[in-house]
């Protein structure tokens, strides 16, 4: 059961909203997100902390933790249906078997008291795998494939592994049940540069070999630039821009994306050229309820941004939600209204 030629499933996230219950009422962490993961591609979601990207990742498995909940929308996975509608054992079996989730490297995603092998067997038993020796064999070959001594790793405890090794174990556990949709949450954060590069190469290679549909969540544009086919930029719970990675990075249309790119210091050239975005990203309670979420920090802010929901413009393979992006060259493109409110002003 190593490499299957089963077609990678597509994933369609539509109008997804997640709210968190707080003392100030229910506050939205993710608002009206539409995102399609094409079969067999790697999609990167970029955003600062608090942009709702991790919540979006958890929504893929219908695993938003209380006090949060998915308030509307759906996550359709080919061959599975709407994950948001799944409950109980059906939901549990979807996690792990159909959708793999890889934790942030800095986090300890393994039980410190059990060897990796024992946890692998727990995973197998949870998903009613009859052929446990086969599962171990598969795990070992996956680990070997990622450049580890599989047999030895399975016999180790978490604390005996380095960060990069743990991350590969995390990838193994996400794939060993043959999941074809994989979500990676900050897969390279807190790893050193060389290990980071190795992990990214492994993700790319395994993705291709096994025919996966992959979602990578990161705050690091560099990671996305390296592996993602498509790129989605999140800010304040909204998707502000998405499109093919090269096009978005080459010619960003949303002022936030432009700001992110300008903030990256170049290896060559003047360090002063890197300009940090002024201000801070909004938190749950400071996200403005009306108008554009980015306006406080925006360089091209207009009056309409205060009240009007930015229109979602689809320009070829690209989507951008900004009042300013509609000006200039692309008036001919289709203009769709924002999903939650129709008070769009052109």
């Amino acid at each position: 059961m190593s490499v299957t030629d089963q077609r990678a499933p597509g994933v369609r996230i539509s109008d997804l909203s997640v709210v968190y219950r707080t003392q100030a009422g229910e506050l939205p962490a993710v608002r009206g997100v539409d995102l399609e993961l094409m079969p067999g591609t790697i999609t990167g979601v970029v955003g600062e902390s608090g942009s709702g990207k991790s919540t979006l990742a958890l929504s893929m498995l219908n695993a938003v933790q209380p006090p949060g909940r998915i308030s509307s929308g759906s996550v359709e996975i080919d061959g599975l249906g709407d994950v948001v509608a799944l409950r109980g054992d059906d939901l549990r079996k979807t996690r792990g078997r159909h959708v793999g989730y890889v934790f942030q490297a800095a986090q300890n995603s393994l039980n410190p008291l059990k060897t990796i092998g024992k946890q692998l067997l727990d995973l197998g038993r949870s998903h009613d795998v009859d052929d446990l020796p086969g599962l171990v064999k598969e795990a070992r070959s996956l680990l070997d494939r990622m450049g580890l001594d599989g047999a030895r790793v399975l016999d180790s405890y978490q604390h005996e592994l380095s960060g990069g090794m743990r991350q590969r174990v995390g990838i193994m556990l996400a794939l060993v049940l043959n999941a074809h949709v994989v979500v990676l949450d900050e897969p390279t954060t807190a790893l050193d540069m060389i290990t980071q590069a190795t992990i990214l190469r492994i993700i790319r290679e395994v993705h291709e070999e096994r025919g996966l549909t992959t979602l990578v969540i990161t705050h690091d544009l560099g990671v996305v630039a390296e592996i993602a086919d498509r790129l989605a930029v999140m800010y304040g719970g909204r998707l502000v821009e998405q499109g093919p990675t090269r096009e978005v990075l080459g010619a960003p249309r949303h002022p936030y994306t432009r700001g992110l790119l300008q903030a990256i210091p170049r290896l060559v050239g003047d360090i002063d050229e890197a300009r940090a975005l002024p201000g801070r990203p909004p938190t749950l309670s400071t996200v403005p309820p009306d108008g554009c979420v980015f306006r406080e920090r925006c360089a091209v802010r207009m009056d309409v941004c205060e009240t009007g929901e930015p229109p979602v413009l689809t320009i070829g393979p690209r989507v951008v939600a900004c009042h300013a992006a509609g000006d200039g060259e692309s008036q001919k493109e289709t203009v769709t209204t924002g999903p939650t409110r129709g008070e769009e002003q052109a």
Binding site: L58, L61, A63, Q65, R92, K93, T94, R95, G96, R97, Y101, F103, Q107, N108, S109, L110, N111, P112, L113, K114, T115, D122, L123, R125, S126, H127, M146, G147, L148, D149, R152, V153, S156, Y157, H159, E160, L161, S162, G164, M165, G170, L173, A174, I194, T195, T198
Partner: protein, 346 residues
């Protein structure tokens, strides 16, 4: 960069080092405790040692013979410098010679203590085990239901029982079950009408007499377990690997085992301390229920001015605590692989 290798497992050496540390600390503690005993015996108002010596001489004993007799009683000569006395006392202790008991004339302190030890050890262990089991099970429950009324109730009852001193519990239980509803005996180890030995009557009577002490021990420590387990479970519930297991679709029963095992772990250090506290509590409980264990022996030796016995009982209680510490630590080593390989403890 791929095969950094699994860090070495110096398990055995680490355990030996920890054990050696414990033993060294235990020896220092024994030294401190025996020195306190010595200083007190030597400085007791009215100098019982000199009084005894003079009495023996008055009774017609030669000064040398009287000195020897007192030496046998206390472990050092009534005359001579303090340092000489101290060294004699310590030398005696090193040969497990604790002196002679006054209350049970002609018997070594060691023998008297050993016969009392079982009346403390067995009820204390039974009570601890009982409360540990009930406490951790209810502690998990209190943690899971911590938002609800029942969880609150469990936590408050735990705090109250934990806060109330053992003698208050013992007195209340005694007042209820021996005075108001006299269904349990008020004191002693067994009814004298039964012949000690393996007959049903005697054993039944033993159990009947042990009920109040054991239940008091159990109730006194139960509160501590439920509180400690609750906060430990709440901590573990917030750990990443629990969410990770959930996202891998692990079965609830398996996740529950992960939580339980990780949460119980820190409780083993408390186990050692609580055993120490119970030996202190035993003094009250044995006094109240007239149960002839080490605690009662310590009080009787103080009120009966049997100072050799007092020093011996104090020493034995200290040694018991040291042993409890070591045992708890070894147990910890068995269940926590991180300690086993000399890494950091949880």
């Amino acid at each position: 960069m791929t095969l950094i290798g699994v860090p070495g497992r110096s398990g055995g050496i680490a355990v030996v080092r920890r054990l050696a540390g414990h033993l060294a600390r235990g020896l220092v503690m024994i030294l401190v405790v025996t020195t306190i005993s010595f200083l007190i015996i030597r400085n007791i108002p009215g100098d019982p040692m000199a009084a005894k010596y003079e009495k023996l001489v008055e009774q017609g004993m030669s000064p040398e013979a009287a000195q020897q007799a007192v030496n046998v009683l206390y472990g050092f000569m009534p005359t001579g410098s303090m340092w000489q006395q101290y060294l004699d006392y310590m030398k005696g202790l090193a040969h497990f010679d604790l002196g002679q008991s006054l209350t049970v004339p002609g018997t070594g302190v060691g023998t008297v203590l050993m016969s009392a030890a079982k009346w403390t050890l067995i009820p204390v262990l039974a009570g601890t085990l009982l409360s540990f089991l009930v406490g951790i099970i209810l502690g998990v429950y209190a943690a899971i239901k911590r938002q609800g009324k029942l969880g609150d109730l469990l936590a408050i009852s735990g705090s109250l029982l934990h806060g109330v001193p053992q003698y208050v519990l013992a007195l209340l239980l005694g007042a209820i079950f021996t005075t108001l509803i006299p269904i349990l005996p008020a004191g002693g180890t067994a009814d004298i009408m039964f012949e000690p030995g393996l007959n049903a009557g005697y054993i039944g009577s033993l159990i009947q007499h042990a009920t109040l002490p054991v239940v008091t021990y159990a109730l006194a420590s139960y509160g501590g377990w439920i509180l400690a387990m609750k906060s430990s479970v709440v901590t573990v519930l917030g750990d990443d690997f629990i969410l990770a297991a959930e996202l891998r679709g692990m079965k609830r029963s398996i996740i529950f085992r992960y939580i339980a095992r990780n949460a119980i772990l820190p409780l083993f250090t408390i186990l050692a301390l609580s055993l120490g506290m119970l030996f202190g509590g035993a003094i009250f409980i044995e006094r109240i229920f007239n149960y002839p264990g080490l605690g009662l022996m310590l009080i009787d030796s103080i009120t009966g001015r049997d100072y050799a016995l007092m020093g011996g009982a104090f020493l034995l209680i200290t040694v018991a605590i040291i042993i409890a510490n070591i045992a708890a630590d070894l147990l910890y080593t068995v269940i926590d692989p991180r300690v086993r390989s000399g890494g950091e403890a949880a």
